[in-house]
Symmetry: C2
Subunit: 873 residues, 2 copies
């Protein structure tokens, strides 16, 4: 018979898929001899089976659970529901990948009208027992019986008001008995049945509720956000309860073996005396730092320190642990690899290598390349900080800085962000329901909760700036105002957050690019040792190019010339070029654009001294340069001394049904060769002038949107003739390459022919994805989310390269291209150039380089190293 | 040394590429012993060399010409420019492919102030000699010296007016001398130099002019229209002159071995007594039928009959011949395979097989499949003819019927046609300059010229209805009116032409589908013997389906269901479906559409009894079904009892940047599975009802725009579930297939995976071309013409399949598809399904069938047979 349940003695850390991360690690800790309250795990396979069988548990499963429960009762020498010394258990979710707070938990299970007395007698603490019972009814009622939790809260509130106390702690055992009575009435009124008194029934209902929560909205969203896929479901851990809330010699806490925000190798955590674990995570009371535990309960603290060391050495990674101290006895409730900021991730990796805990290769493979993005995030301009008015200071929960409009509601934050507005989500505390708004916001500000509160944990995971537990501010969610330092800000007002200091500023402060740590440099150095892919950058300005070099770019893979046509007087000349009635007029306008282009190129060539620069000739359809709004048209017409009708006629003439498949790319250069000529002249004049100033210039001229060798030949002729003319005029020779983007499927399919003429290929995976899949990037939002929900697509193909389709074309093009030009240089310059899993594909496919935005260069360096290391194995 | 010149004795008919068609056949006739005026041919290689060398003739070429000219003078015992008995030559173009009238010709070359006397003395005909001289100056002045021909015409006109005569024939030798004098003054005034007197110089200038004419506008347009490519240029034929205009015992004519309009095996042609060849072709005088020659010059006629037989047997094809009779002596000036109407083509092919001249295979290979389109053309409704008022009757120059607005100018005809208007081009006579308008018009009407006039020849080639030489009408091109039978019609008025009878009708007569001849049936029968490709049709209505069956379709390859949603109350339900706020509302609207769909399918299934019917599920983006204009929106809003704003909001919501790559095809069926469900229900309910009436229904359900196997699986599930439900409800089982269109490149690239689920593939080459090339069909007009002009593309890829790109994807998909489902059925249903050269590709690629519009089915049958025969070789 299949095995559906494992005791903690039976499992180990390698069984994550089956037992979930929590179950596997509870088992591992048990076998390490660490005090873990006994219990058992119901496997993820049961979750899968449960959902397949229309939400029913099979008799075999029920039998095995019952068997393990019996065993647990024997081990604990207690029985569920016993009126003298009852066993109480927790029922917790735990999938193979950590999804903190996303699924349901039931604590204190086993209490009923009889066993509450048993608990009271045994603990000699009537108040504790009745408080545990009222907590259980409240939690079970909400989580399992799906009763609105506000109904319970309002009962509690009324009783406190009647008694004139502010906190739960002000209630005595009689009050709590009354609460229990009223709670049971709520359950009966809402569900038409009594609160279940049979503990085995309570257990079965709770197990089902946890399984159901695998498919709840926030768990599904979380899996989508963190790209968690391929899991069977969640396991369920049934564990005997220990209590951190039995009095002043009890406590509960969360701790990390190293600092998850900075990576410092210093024990880090928080705890609350006389509290249950939920109280820490929910952020309702602000906890004490873990070091303070040494003062209150030195023995427990020393034991915890030892466990800290043991677990980190055992798992060879920073651990995130939960513990409870019951009457002075330390119990570990969970350990897992801790989530951490990018900064901390780098520091931990570097220091663990220094400590001899990890090899360099292992350290590189530990880094989540995408997370490095956080480090690239801006911080507040140092010069602006002294003059800025900090209106409050909270916990620096997630580093970085953010500027945005205040919003108090998660859904509103999402809606405004979709409109392109930058918002800061301000909440008293956050809960998993706020996920959507946190994802949409620039930053998060909460008035309650600690460094391990929901807001802090989630924000760090997202790499999003967060200031948590900011008690200086008062939030009125109804009136939608935020008050601090005598100021009242309302919805829509701007604030600036500094997630690294915890400061909150009124208004919009200027943000600045980050400086990178030594750890960053070390990791990058190591990554460079292992990677074989070159990393270039997509940059259109000297500023971006300089940034990219700072991040380690080895050249420019894509310099888009069209962005150069939008500023100031250039757009005017560009428009005159477009409105030109004859080749001569067009040439005149182009002649006015030439010096601008040339200056741009000179700037870029200087910065990229000695590194290759791939310049793509004009690509977008011309209508993108014309005005759209009636008013703008009038202004421009006047400025250009033409009639508005002329401009409108031209706009109409240039209108296209499907501009993505229209008159753009080399099609422009072919119908207007004078544009290509001007651009080539600008490139070569700039290159020669800069060369004459002692720089090394390596231009690579790239013809866009080539699908047919004849297009390439046509444009190559124009470029080569211009280059020759310019070189002859100046008497200076320049080495350059001329190649093409492979972004039209036909270009990939005929790459052998194209490679006879082209000296390099750069895969434009954005367009190649659009055409290979027939997905317009601007319109795919209408169906791609549904496709991902339905499992038709695993990822948005504009974020993660579609290996089977687009990847296949890339491979065809690589093979064909090399067949006719073995030494052809090949790279990729689409959005996918900075996406780690796509980079793995490019490495395997044998490209020479990837090119990505400057801020993604470090990500690409690490991802390329990881790809190389994975392929070594 | 290379050989640049060949005498007629040196060449033969196999040397067309080098000597041009005219030169090769003059040589062939010479060696057959037919009287051909001696001469020589300058090769097409010289033309190529001439253009490459900046329009200069190399010394070697000039030497060889001179040598052959010397030889010709010896042979003729005459010398150019001789003042006693001068040699006169014609200089004519002649490319490998016939391009009648497109390039330049110079006649009577060798005349100057001295030799004109020699000609007069020798012929004892002063008038003839001076007339020849004035013709020469006029022709040379216009063609070679590029002087406006109207300047010469006005001189001639003035002299005729001064003398009070109407025709040239009214002028005597003195008048003509005066004309010559004035003509020479025109030349001097226009060109600042005298008319060249040196015959060798005249010859060299004329040869160059002919070479230049290879690149003139109309020749270039002609080659594009008739897809003539890969030629080096034109050859030049220098031939001693014979004169059909030396008096009443001379004549000139054009004849065909069989009737080019009907194919009847009866000698056919026209001639003019006392005329030069140009007079026949130009249509200035209306010539006599060839049979009349027997009355006037019986000897020449009998000789001509013998030549007719000899040449047809020799070339094994209907010949188009030019001859001149000089003083009773017959000379052949040209023979070539005659252009013919489709009807005639079929009749000649069938009869030549019956006569034992050709095999069936040869006969099939002789047919130009594209030409069959003519036979499919409409004619005037038989019932309407008796009631119609024929206002004039001309020559039935090219069969078919046409209705359109009168237009008198070729460019205006082109412009109006581009606006979607139907026009009839009305001209006194046409010239090659009118080509653009003839191409654009529905039909052509001329008041002058015979069955072999320019208008007639070109119209037949185009398969366009033409009534020529309609002397009953008077055209005032200046006032833009046409008068006949006491009526005056003006520009924009409608007329109807019957090209099969020569009748011209006022107004718009109803046109009717054609009936097909026995010859047609025979050819189709033979084609069916040879072809292996099945031919299906694209038909959305029972009427189209019935038509297609009449033309031999073996099934429906594409039934587009969306066209069914546009009529009457359907569009209302469709719009309600689109505007639906919930799935329930949408289902309600769909339920109203169901009976319409079902009725449509029943009609089609009935007609297609026993033949497969491929039904494509909804494909276009939904916004295509919503109104566009403000006014229409208001009307519909009122009708549907919603606010116009709701409709506008929906339109905005559905707006797409690139709808071609947007929310359409199976993406609709996936996001709105209830649409697929309704369509599947309609198909299967219809199939079952029709089956129960004794018909055999073979539905093939086609999921459009599949690029990913998961899309197909999703839609297949919906269709299969619906089919099962319907079959269970009715108790009747239906055999059906479920397959997909391969029209997204990714679909082709992953065809192996898709074929595991799909039972058939139909290549949607329209979309596949759009995405593989990145060409939007709606927008490609902005650059494709330029691409063709520049030689970047050979053809519009939406007309002729791009074999290297799209074809490669098709081959990949065929191989991959068969690798996982060896018996998968494969066809093609794009526009290319009816295009002969594309059909050849599909045959070679091994498809099972092609599907095309009903009227192209016969073309596809012949093209498929030709493909099979060519591949047998």
């Amino acid at each position: 018979m299949a095995k559906y349940v494992y005791s903690f003695e039976e499992g180990n850390k390698s069984m994550k898929e089956l037992l979930g991360g929590k179950g596997a690690n509870l088992a591992e800790m048990t076998s390490l001899g660490i005090h873990v309250p006994p219990g058992f795990t119901i496997t993820t396979e049961v979750c899968d089976q449960y959902h397949r069988n229309g939400k029913t548990l099979s008799p075999e499963v029920i039998d095995q659970i019952s068997e393990y429960l019996d065993e647990l009762q024997v081990k604990m020498n207690k029985t569920l529901g016993n009126k003298d010394d009852p066993l109480l258990v927790s029922v917790r979710s735990g999938a193979a990948d950590s999804m903190p707070g996303m699924m349901d938990t039931v604590l204190n299970l086993g209490l009923n009208d009889e066993s509450v007395q048993g608990l009271a007698n045994k603990t000699v603490n009537q108040r504790f027992a009745w408080d545990a019972y009222r907590r259980f009814i409240q939690m079970f009622g909400h989580v399992v019986m799906e009763i609105d939790s506000r109904l319970f809260e309002s009962v509690l509130k009324k009783i406190k008001e009647a008694k004139g106390v502010k906190y739960d702690s002000g209630l005595d055992k009689e009050d709590l008995k009354k609460v229990v009575e009223k709670f049971k009435q709520v359950v009966h009124a809402e569900r038409g049945e009594s609160f279940p008194q049979d503990p085995r029934k309570q257990l079965e209902m709770s197990i089902k509720a946890v399984f159901n929560s695998w498919h709840n909205e926030r768990a599904t969203l979380y899996r989508k956000l963190y790209d968690i896929r391929g899991l069977l479901g969640t396991a369920v851990n049934v564990q005997s309860m220990v209590f951190g809330n039995t009095g002043e010699s009890s406590a509960t806490g969360v701790c990390f073996t190293r600092n998850p925000a900075t990576g410092e190798n210093k024990f880090y955590g928080e705890f609350l005396v006389n509290a249950q674990g939920e109280d820490v995570v929910a952020g309702i009371r602000t906890p004490d730092p873990i070091s303070k535990l040494n003062e209150i309960m030195p023995d427990a603290y020393q034991e915890l320190l030892a466990i800290r060391k043991k677990l980190e050495n055992h798992f060879r990674d920073m651990q995130d642990m939960e513990f409870t101290i019951e009457e002075g006895h330390l119990f570990m409730l969970q350990t897992r690899n801790g989530k951490r900021t990018a900064e901390s991730s780098l520091r931990i990796a570097v220091e663990m290598v220094e400590e001899g805990l990890l090899t360099k290769k292992e350290a590189i493979l530990r880094i989540d390349p995408n997370q490095l993005d956080q480090l690239m995030h801006k911080h507040i301009d140092k010069d602006a900080v002294p003059k800025a008015i900090s209106i409050a200071k909270g916990l620096p929960a997630s580093p970085g800085a953010a500027v945005g409009e205040i919003v108090f509601d998660a859904h509103e934050a999402d809606a405004l962000a979709n409109d392109g507005r930058k918002v800061i989500l301000v909440r008293t505390e956050t809960s998993p329901e706020d996920l959507i708004g946190m994802n949409a916001a620039q930053g998060i500000l909460t008035s309650r909760g600690g460094m391990t509160s929901h807001a802090a944990v989630v924000a760090r995971g997202m790499g999003k700036c967060c200031v948590a537990g900011c008690g200086d501010i008062r939030i009125d969610e109804e009136k939608e105002t935020l008050s601090a330092a005598g100021l009242t800000l309302k919805k829509g007002d701007y604030i600036t957050l500094d997630g690294s200091t915890g400061n909150v500023y009124e208004g919009r402060l200027p943000l600045q690019d980050p400086e990178l740590s030594d750890n960053f440099d070390r990791i990058m150095e190591w990554a460079d040792e292992f990677r074989t892919l070159q990393i270039r950058t997509n940059a259109d300005t000297p500023h971006d190019a300089a940034n990219a070099i700072r991040f380690g770019a080895q050249g420019i893979g894509l310099c888009r010339t069209e962005h150069m046509f939008f500023e100031g007087p250039r757009i005017r000349a560009m428009r005159e070029m477009i409105l030109a009635g004859s080749v001569e007029e067009r040439k005149k306008a182009l002649a006015r654009l030439l010096p601008y282009q040339k200056e741009d190129f000179k700037g870029i060539f200087k910065v990229m001294d000695g590194l290759p620069v791939t310049i793509r000739l004009l690509d977008p359809p011309l209508h993108e340069f014309l005005p759209r709004e009636e008013e703008e048209i009038s202004v421009i017409a006047e400025e250009m001394r033409v009639t508005p009708e002329l401009i409108k006629t031209k706009i109409e003439e240039l209108y296209e049904q499907n501009p993505m498949l229209g008159h753009r790319g080399c099609r422009l250069g072919i119908t207007y060769p004078e544009i290509t000529e001007m651009q080539a002249r600008a490139i070569f004049e700039a290159a020669i002038e800069i060369t004459n100033h002692g720089y090394t210039v390596l231009p690579e001229v790239m013809i866009p949107l080539v699908g047919n060798i004849n297009e390439f030949i046509h444009q190559k002729k124009v470029v080569v003739a211009t280059a020759n003319a310019v070189m002859e005029e100046s008497g200076t020779r320049i080495n350059y390459l001329i190649g093409t983007m492979i972004e039209v499927p036909r270009g990939a399919l005929t790459a052998d022919v194209i490679a006879r003429e082209a000296e390099f290929f750069s895969f434009g995976t954005n367009d190649l994805t659009q055409m290979t899949l027939g997905f317009s990037r601007d319109d795919a939002g209408k169906f791609v989310p549904a496709y991902i929900n339905l499992g038709i697509l695993d990822h948005d193909p504009f974020q993660v390269l579609d290996r089977n389709g687009v990847g296949q074309l890339i491979k065809i093009a690589i093979d064909k291209g090399r067949s006719s030009r073995p030494d052809i240089k090949m790279g990729i310059c689409g959005e996918h150039g900075g996406e780690p899993s796509s980079i793995e594909f490019y490495h395997e496919a044998g490209l020479d380089y990837v090119s990505c935005s400057p801020f993604r260069v470090p990500i690409a360096r690490v991802a390329a190293a990881q790809a190389a290391l994975k392929n070594q194995k």
